[in-house]
Assembly symmetry: C2
Homo-oligomer: 390 residues x 2
């Protein structure tokens, strides 16, 4: 096990009617004037917007609104938010929505006290220690951004999708009310499920030995997703299944499942190029890329893939031919994603084989070759993974 | 799943050489003058004391020492510590040791700013919101107190062993260096293993339905303990196994494995009477009581015990006779505890059958009948559990 630090000081309020505590929590964490940051009309249709604003009003907390966050959130709105916060003396940002609204709020929070261009953090990977405090009201179980120190933004100038991280970005509080997810469409729900499972896989496939506790926690989250996801697909109004998935999404990404080990974020990197070029949903892109990545890297450590197959997917171990067990695990993961309606091929995403060289080049225009990870990836490897996803 | 709040803002520094960061961390969390609180000579023999004091000295942080914490820590030393902190203007308590040193430090931390008798919190269960900040340097994987808001103290006036809890008691930071546990004796190691597993079991056996994610996380910790514990018993110097157990001990008790569900702490309550009357090691007492409690309550929910047997202990499910599977799980738990050298009977603890009425009466002198939990327990039930442990 590697040495590590783990610090996850977000206050979680989970369950029905959680929004009524927003006023109390904003005040507890020092907010006096709030920017309410969200996407479009869905939070107005499902009642979340009304409950959030009622709680702020009841607590006498003034707020301004900035809506218009898009999936794969863009730099343009971040610049606008920074300017607005500075002009209006806002000292707390409340994101209402999924990962996009939260990541956009984090970028604004980082940008307000920073004298340079907020994009510096995303371009250089410099950790973000200082930011305005933020809170979140989660409406989509997916990104895990409600409990993580991470943010991903697409720079419109060049369409680079890049991540930044830092202690300053951990939400002070997050309100997770599974009721807010009951009306979410099945496709978006499935995209979220895929993202959650990818967050675990990128931690699970490691070269670090002897991290049984973290392995087991990873497997716990994956098995929960395998158990609960079909329930939601059959009955989208199943509160209990939605609740399990929502909390699993947080556990998957606050890094309790990732400590003590090297991690591998190449599937996310490779997928980000697809989202950036075609504006596909992140989860859908991952559904296409992740199994392709697995097929490509499996030979690097057949035993670990066999463990994944046996412990997570319930495969019988083929002791004579472990590589068959390993392949069976990946096949079951692929079949699971298909069963929840997720795409398997470039064609289903509207992506094109002839763009593979451009996707690869765009990735390496901002990343050094080879990409570090479970298996180091050259340009050739990345192209091969895209081709496996055709 | 029940509504819940989860807030675990302890900063963990895990791995080799962690003690060298103490100065930095005390300063980060606002300490200017420290009370170093510990038990006896073991931290001097294993080098931890030297590394801790060197780090404080290097950071120029003045400190006083209060040693003498006993297993099942006593109220007398707590009163002494409160008086010392007030007199000397101490603003940060650093506990070095296992759960006893940490729980004693928490009690002192709660008592310093409180105008009444610190025991009020333990006698009434009133939550402790305000306390001096504390940090911990863990040397025994067991109690989980390094990441929990809980403290258990024995009041010498009457020998009542009682717990208190509150947000104010969460350590600001905890340093977990598995090297500090390499020289721990096998018996004490096994007591810690038992305590960790008990912390999970008391969360696992619940009447709350549909908390798959928390169930799976509980099972992850138990399976880790089953995998790693024999390694340490065979080779006490196995750093990797010690590291897995140490982190599992934190995960078992910071409540990430307990959210969203009713919990059952009756095994702990019933054991506390044994520790208080005979001063036995808490883990040894649990080893005797926990399987007895399981046998007594199994009929209340055979399915849940069957799940425990199948998922944790790898039993085959007997679909025709689930109660046999359930019993097999408890038998394997019992055998596991025996395999790591833990006692199974009153006699092995030096406890006596004729004391059962007194143990039961003493418990109910401070608790209402019936005890709430997975299965409500009357005086009769508690006596029956003690008898099953004979």
């Amino acid at each position: 096990m590697e040495n590590f630090r783990f610090y996850a000081p977000t206050y979680f309020c989970f369950g029905k009617n959680g929004e009524q505590n927003i006023g109390e929590l904003v005040t507890r964490f020092g907010g006096h004037k709030v920017l309410l940051h969200y996407g479009g009309g869905s939070i107005k249709r499902n009642g979340v917007y009304g409950r959030v604003t009622a709680s702020l009003q009841a607590a006498g907390i003034p707020y301004l609104e900035l809506d218009g966050v898009q999936p794969n959130p863009r730099s343009g709105l971040v610049y606008k938010g920074i300017e607005l916060c500075r002009r209006e003396g806002i000292d707390f940002i409340l994101a209402v929505g999924g990962g996009s609204a939260i990541d956009s709020a984090k970028a604004i929070a980082a940008g307000v006290p920073y004298s340079g261009d907020f994009w510096d953090y995303y371009a250089t990977g410099k950790p973000i220690d200082e930011a305005l405090p933020i809170g979140t009201v989660l409406t989509i179980a997916a990104a895990g951004s409600e409990g993580s120190p991470d943010s991903v933004i697409t720079q419109e100038n060049g369409m680079f999708k890049r991540g930044a991280t830092g202690e300053g970005l951990r939400p002070k509080f997050s309100i997770l009310n599974p009721e807010a997810t009951l009306t979410l469409g099945l496709y978006q729900t499935a995209c979220g499920i895929t993202d959650i499972m990818a967050h675990i896989c990128e931690r699970y496939f490691t070269n670090t030995r002897d991290v049984e506790i973290t392995d087991r926690l990873c497997e716990a989250v994956l098995k929960t997703m395998i158990e609960e996801s079909p329930k939601v697909m059959r009955n989208p109004g199943d509160y209990e299944a939605r609740a399990n998935i929502m909390w699993a999404g947080m556990v998957a990404h606050n890094n309790i499942t990732g400590v003590g080990r090297a991690q591998d974020w190449n599937s996310h990197r490779i997928e980000h190029e697809l989202s950036a070029m075609y504006d596909v949903a992140h989860g859908a892109g991952l559904s296409v890329i992740m199994p392709a990545w697995m097929k490509h890297v499996m030979q690097h450590d057949v035993t670990r893939f066999a463990q994944f197959a046996v412990r997570v997917w319930g495969c019988d171990m083929n002791f004579a031919h472990p590589e068959l067990t390993a392949a069976e695990g990946v096949a079951r993961f692929r079949a699971f994603l298909t069963s929840i309606g997720m795409p398997a091929t470039f064609a289903e995403l509207g992506a094109k084989a002839e763009d593979i060289p451009a996707l690869t080049e765009h990735l390496f225009s901002a990343e050094k070759e080879p990409l570090p990870g479970f298996m180091e990836l050259t340009r050739e490897d990345v192209s091969a993974i895209y081709r496996l996803a055709l």
